[in-house]
Structure formats: C-alpha cells, structure tokens
Subunit: 353 residues, 3 copies
Amino acid sequence: MGTSKRPEAEVWRPTAGEVAALLDGRLRDASPSDGPFDGIRVLAEAGARQLSFVVGDKELGAARASAAGLLIVPSGELSAAFAGRARLEVDEVWPAVVELIERFHPEPDEQPGRHPTAIVGRGARLGEAVSIGPYAIVGDGAVIGDGTVVGPHCVIDGRSRIGERCRLHAGVVLRGLVEIGHDCLIFPGAVLGADGFRFERVGGATLKIPQVGRIVVEDEVEIGANTTVDRAFLSETRIGRGTKIDNQVQIAHNVSIGPHCFIAAQVGIAGSTRIGAGCLIGGHAGFRDKIEIGPGTRIGGMTGIHKSFPEGGVELWGYPATPLKRFARIQAVLQRLPELERRVRALEKGLAE
Amino acid sequence: MGTSKRPEAEVWRPTAGEVAALLDGRLRDASPSDGPFDGIRVLAEAGARQLSFVVGDKELGAARASAAGLLIVPSGELSAAFAGRARLEVDEVWPAVVELIERFHPEPDEQPGRHPTAIVGRGARLGEAVSIGPYAIVGDGAVIGDGTVVGPHCVIDGRSRIGERCRLHAGVVLRGLVEIGHDCLIFPGAVLGADGFRFERVGGATLKIPQVGRIVVEDEVEIGANTTVDRAFLSETRIGRGTKIDNQVQIAHNVSIGPHCFIAAQVGIAGSTRIGAGCLIGGHAGFRDKIEIGPGTRIGGMTGIHKSFPEGGVELWGYPATPLKRFARIQAVLQRLPELERRVRALEKGLAE
Amino acid sequence: MGTSKRPEAEVWRPTAGEVAALLDGRLRDASPSDGPFDGIRVLAEAGARQLSFVVGDKELGAARASAAGLLIVPSGELSAAFAGRARLEVDEVWPAVVELIERFHPEPDEQPGRHPTAIVGRGARLGEAVSIGPYAIVGDGAVIGDGTVVGPHCVIDGRSRIGERCRLHAGVVLRGLVEIGHDCLIFPGAVLGADGFRFERVGGATLKIPQVGRIVVEDEVEIGANTTVDRAFLSETRIGRGTKIDNQVQIAHNVSIGPHCFIAAQVGIAGSTRIGAGCLIGGHAGFRDKIEIGPGTRIGGMTGIHKSFPEGGVELWGYPATPLKRFARIQAVLQRLPELERRVRALEKGLAE
C-alpha cells in the first residue's frame, strides 16, 4: 500500500457514447458526442460535466434538481419520467455505477511480491502473485493463496491458512488456527484470534480456560477496521460465506454467524451465540451468550438481545429486544406515560367523589 | 517516541515567588520564599510541598481539607473565601494549571528526522523538522507539513496530505485520500480510511459499492485511540475544526461533523449523518444514518438517536432520544410503573363494586 | 509469535490409565487400557476416541447423549449418575480440563531473545529470558521483567515498567508512565496511555488539559484486544490485581478498578469512576464519570450506570440502571403497557357512564 506505485496519469474522460458502450446502455435525449465527462457524483453534487444516477422513485425530486450532465437511470417508468433529459438507460443501475466508479477512480497499482523487510517463516507456502507488505510477519508453515495481499505490519500466525484473492490491510493480526476463505477483505487493525473470555472460579482462585479452537472465515467475507473475532474454546468460531462485518464489532469465542449477514459497526456478540443466514444487524446491538437467532432476522440499532429468537424472519428492536410492531406500540404509550398517570389520578379522584 | 531521548534531569522546584512570576499572579497570605514545591496535585492528594488549584465553588470543602502548600485560585470572591491561607490569585485557573503541569512534567525531547527504518515513498514531500518514526511507511506522493510527527508503525497512504504541527501516534493508518489540517493529534490505532459499509443486493448477489471519496479532518482536531473514520462513497467524510473525538468512536462514510464538537468514547455515527457545530455527545451514544443534528445539541451517554433534531440547542437522552425534560418525566413514571398498574387494578375493582 | 518454531510433532495419544495418572483421578467402569484418545471435545462434539467432561447437573442430558469415549466427572453424586459408563472421577473438573487441553494443544515454542529487528533504547533493562519480537520498539530506560514476552510491533514507552512473565501480544502500545505487574496478558491492538479526554473552555477557546499521570496495571490482569486504557490527568488510572478485561473496553483517565473484576467486551467506564473488588460487568455496559460502584456488584449487559451504587452486592440492569428485582417488575408491566392504557380508557368510559 504505502510503497505501491501511484496510478499513471491515466485520466478517463469519456463521451456519452463511450459511457453507453461501456455499460451496454441506451442513450435517451442525449447524443453520443455529449461530454466529455470527468467524474461521477451524487445527484446534489454533480455538475454539467459529471454523471450521476437514479436508483429509485424516492430520488425523483433530487434528480430533477440535479445539474448532472448525464443521468444513469433504470429502464422503464423511471426513465420515462425524465423524458427530454439527457440520460442513459441500463438494466441495473448499481453495477453500472460500480463500473463507472472503478474507471474514474482506479486504485493505485501494486506489484505483487514480498517486500524485503517482510519476515516469512520457514515452510510458509505462498501462492502465485502473493504480495507481502513491508514489516509484515508470516509465521512458519502459514499458507497464503494466489493473488492474496498481506498489508504492511500484518502478523500472520504460522497456523493460519488464507485463501486466494484476499486482502488483509495494514496491521491485521491472525493468531492461532485461523482459516480464511477466498476473496475476503480485512481492514486495518482487525484482530482475529485473541483468547475467548472464559474464566472459572475454583477454590477461590480464578482459572483461565485455554482457548485452542479455530476461527473459520468463509469466502467473500468482509471484516471491518479494529473488529475483533475471538479464538474458540475447543471447537470453532465461524463467519459464514458472504457475511459483511463493519468496524469495531466484537465476535466472541464459539460464535457462529451464518452466510450473507450484514453486521453494522460496534455490534457485540457474546460467546457461543448462533446467528442464522441473512440477518441484518444494526449498529451497537448486543447479543447475550448461548442464544440462537433464526435466519432472516432484522435487528435495529442498539437493540439488546437477551434470549433466543430461533424462528427467524422477525424484526427486533429495543432493550430487551421486542418484535417491531409490539415495540412500536409500547414506545408510543411510553411517550404518553406521564399523561397516563395523570389520567389514573383523575380516575381515582373521580371514583372517590 | 520509543527511541526518543529521555528528558535531562531538569527538575523544577519553584518557590511561591517563582510560581507567581511564571503565572503573573498575586500571592495572598504567602511569602515569595515559600516552598520550594515539587509538583502539582489534585486537592485530595496534594501535600505541603505541592501546589493545588481551585476552579469553582463546588471545591470549597475539598480545598479547605487539602494539605496543599499553595492553592492556585481565581481572584475575587473565591479567593476571599480562603483568607489566611497561602494562595496565588490568577485571572484564569485552567491556563495556569496547564502551564504548571507542563513545567513539572516535560515530555521527552524528540529529535526530528526520519528514522533509518522508516520507508518514505518517491515523491513524498516532507516539510521542515518533520519526524518519521521507526517502521513507519509514507506512500509515494504524500505531503507532510512542517513540524509534524509521524509515529512508529504508522501507514500513510500516498494520497494523504497532512498539515503542520500534527502528531500521529503509533500505528495510525491513513488510507485513501485523507486530508489532515494543522495541529491535529491522532492517537494509536486510529484508522482513517477503511471502506464505508455499503452493499447493494442485485439479482440475489451482494454488490460491494466502492468507496472512493475523501476524508477531511480540519485543523486542531483530536482523534482517540482505535477510533475509526470511514472513507466516503463519492464525496467526503468531514470532521470540523477543533472537534475532539475520544477513543473507539466509529464515524461512518459521508458523515459530516461540525466544528468544536466533543464526542466521548464508543459513540457510533452511521452513514451520511450531519452533526452541527458545538455538539456535546456522551459515551456510547448511537446515531442512525442520514439524519441531521442541529448545532449546540447535547446528547446524554448511551442515547440512541433515531431521527433528525435539526433545530439544535436541545438536550437529548434515552432510546429513542427524547428531550431531557420529557425524558426525565417519563423515566420518573416508569420507575413507579408497577404501582401505576396496581392503582389501575384497584380502580377496576372499585368501579366493579 | 510469527517467527517461533512450530511444535514438534509431539502428539499425545494417552490411554485411560495415562489420563487417570496425569489427573490423579479414579477410573470407573473403564479399563486403564481404554483408548488411546486423540483429543478433548465438548459433549456434543466428542466421539469414541475423545474425552469430554461434565461440570454440573445441567449437563446431565447432554452427557448422556454424548458419544465421548471417556467422561471427566466430579466425584460424588454426579459420577454416580453415570454408573455403567466409562468415566474418570476427579476432585475438580476445570483444572483437569485445563491440564488436558494444554497437553493436547501445546502452544508453539518460542525462543527467548531479542529479534534483530527489535529496537531497544539505551538504558532499557531487560530481565532474564525476555523475548522482544520483530519490529518491536522499547524506549530508552524501560524495564522489562524476567520471562516477559513483548510481541511484534509493540511500542513500549521508555517510562514503562513491565513485571515478570507477562505477555504483550502483537501491536500493543504503552505510552507514558505505565506500570504493569507480573503475569499480565495483553492482547493485540490494546493501547494503554492515550491522553485522557479532558478539555476546558476558557474565553471561548478550547484548552486541552495535559494528561501526565500514571497507568498502573496490577498482577495477573488480562486486557483484551483493541481495549484502550487512558493516561491519568495528575494521579493514576488503576486496574486491580486479577481483574480480567475483554476486547474493545474503554477505561478513561483516573478510573480505578478493584481486584478480581470481570469486564466483558465493549464496556465503557468514564473518567474518575471507581469500581470495587469482584464486580461482574456485562458487555456494552456504560458508566458515567465520577461515580462509585461498590464491591461485588453485578451489572447486566448494556446497562447504563448513571449514579453511584456504593453499597455493593447488588445486581443492576437497564437504563438507567435499576436493581434487578425492580427492573424485572418494571419490564413486566412495560410489556403490557398498551393493555394498561386500554384499561385506563375503559375505566374512563365506565366512570363517564
């Protein structure tokens, strides 16, 4: 990262026609020679020389007010709503936007290879086109798959196995037996493998229970900056395929998270709790230990989950966690609680009379 | 830091007169030859050879009980309350205390310069008297202003611009386009530039939305240890001038924080939320995404802010966030909720009879 | 860590008799020649070639269903409940389990010594058999006791004093005057010594109050990954003997934590708060500043403690923190709050008629 070559002054300034060709889209009320455009911006910030995009109905007002030179729009009704305005119809807007961003903002090139200051232990097996950054440490016997980038100052335990095309940013620590799948992304300061927090009191003294299990991170997982995932007691801590975890999340020992979950920042999940596939978890939510959350559960920010909700598919809010509808009703009455008390007082008075 | 010279045994042992001269204060019921004093302590811990200080009325009792040899007091009524006691009147107590602390506790000297193990990329522009610590990495093309200290193990992206007289402590990571103003202080483990957490589901698959925007940190900002500030989607994440951020705070992509805010530890601010100038935010508070908080808002610890409060100047508490007065009334009734229910039962019985 | 030798292929495959001899236990309904066993697992995951263990009555069902080849059980009634089943009676199960785990899962050997890339300042005093990892930095004058391991990329301020047999994992930062006792364990990314968060407004400007006090960590303390402990204002921040702190905990300046506390992940303790001996604190709990919590207090997850509870021995839950019994009663009525309001409406109607 730090020592990578900066991108050559390759500056992309496409015409409307070139954008259309790239995205396989259809220009409406626009000429292929329109442009050139020098970037893509959100609606409110785009000017005549910039592209912008509309994803849904809710943005109709903002899109009409936008000065963007060319709008990327989904084909169909939403496009029709812009009749007369220069626009490019595509089948799916988000993949088009991603492609444009990547063209306008190429990441700096990195040369694969092992920086001379990287320390790679005996018996470590590095695949093709692996990059090991400055001052990184790879323990004896570690296995790192093709195309994976290990950032500067990372510390990779010799018992780790990392798949292909992963990127570990600066200062990531893997400790103990950590298995990372393919195409994972781990941001700076994440620590996988601190000891699970487990002590027993025996005869008045504190006994530390060793944590010798594995951490398994399946394919296509993203782990945020300064997030911590603890080493398991005897078996494993697991993060399912495609699950995305934001910054400063705490995942305790022996937790199991299903595939395709989204976990926002500062969530904490206590030991041995199991979370099903496809859950959406809002920021700062907390889960007690040894509970089970069914697949497809949605959990509001700052929710405190104190018991199992194994059936799945519900939306939970509050502390203690309550299904949304019920939570909203309770909250509504709570807001008029002082008046409710006053009404009771009036009733008492009325009855006394 | 680690390799800096320790301070010479310069030990400051001032008399009362020397303290008075340094602070431009007036000795009362004390002689210039009193002392020498060997340090400054809080009231409860100061002895006869130590200075202490009184900031306001609330400390009158503690000050009377204190054994401090000399009290720094504000001139006026508070000083008069100590008639007969050795004291030094100053116009403003806190600046005087800061000056004394700095004299009694000089920080170790550091020699500016680039440690031989620091890796500085081609085209990086370092100002005068810049210090780059051991094993730090400064990418190609980075710009670092005069007098700035980059601590050991920092990783500075080549696209970064850091102003003058900043200090980045050990292991700070700047990734992507990060602009830091003058006189900023960033504590160990802070990560500026992890990707904003943004995914879209397209055709049953998860599409990662690239985060290519800037982070802008204005002048005189302080960022705590292990705090994370995310890279913006297309435009910018901004922290206003003079804002102070404690440890383990999470600031998501495209958040904008106004000037002169104070944000306590473990606060989380979700994407695109805007916080006005001069807000005070208690620890562990959480903000949902895309809301607006007006200037001068005070927010209690652990408050969950679920909607905009754009008018500013209010004090918010609880979950969901409620203006203080209302919150206090609701809480008061909540504490007697079991009794309220009992009263309703009694009424029902009474009415039935 | 990264560069350590991997354990020789010493593989322990004990018979029941060897296990009994190691643990000084009594085989029941088992022969000393049973086995060999190749590991220890939790009840649900153990097979015929594995050991498992039963700690209390609650596991009776799981133990009966387990396929484990040999059960470690406490002598007495619980053992009798397994009559006919191969088991090993021991006086205390947990110490036996710890011993077995350590035999089956030996940690990689580490050679003490100073890695050639470690930077150790002039006048640093390292005890016997101290290990300083790659790219670690030990400041001038630091003192490190016998048998202590300083992991890779650690940064140890020259004013630090570390006791014997401690282990600082990768990337730990000690800044300022930090005193660590014996037998402490600090996990990756922990930062001890960021400035306490203290500012005063003087004449419309923000004045930073220097933080020059000490951090004292007593013996046998454990500090989790990415946890932050702040430097004190003038006196000290203290963590008592035997206290265990999980990941991502924030301990502000001048906090004092008594001995033998257990503090779960993501707890935040604000400045100058004092916590007595033997407290148990659940995850995500928050404490305001300058309060006192008595010894033996138990605090539920996500509890917000807004005032002192100096008497100790209570169990607190909720926000604001409420003694458990009262909290449970309030919560129970809260869950039927919509119905309570309806009952009041019915009463009003009844009275009106």
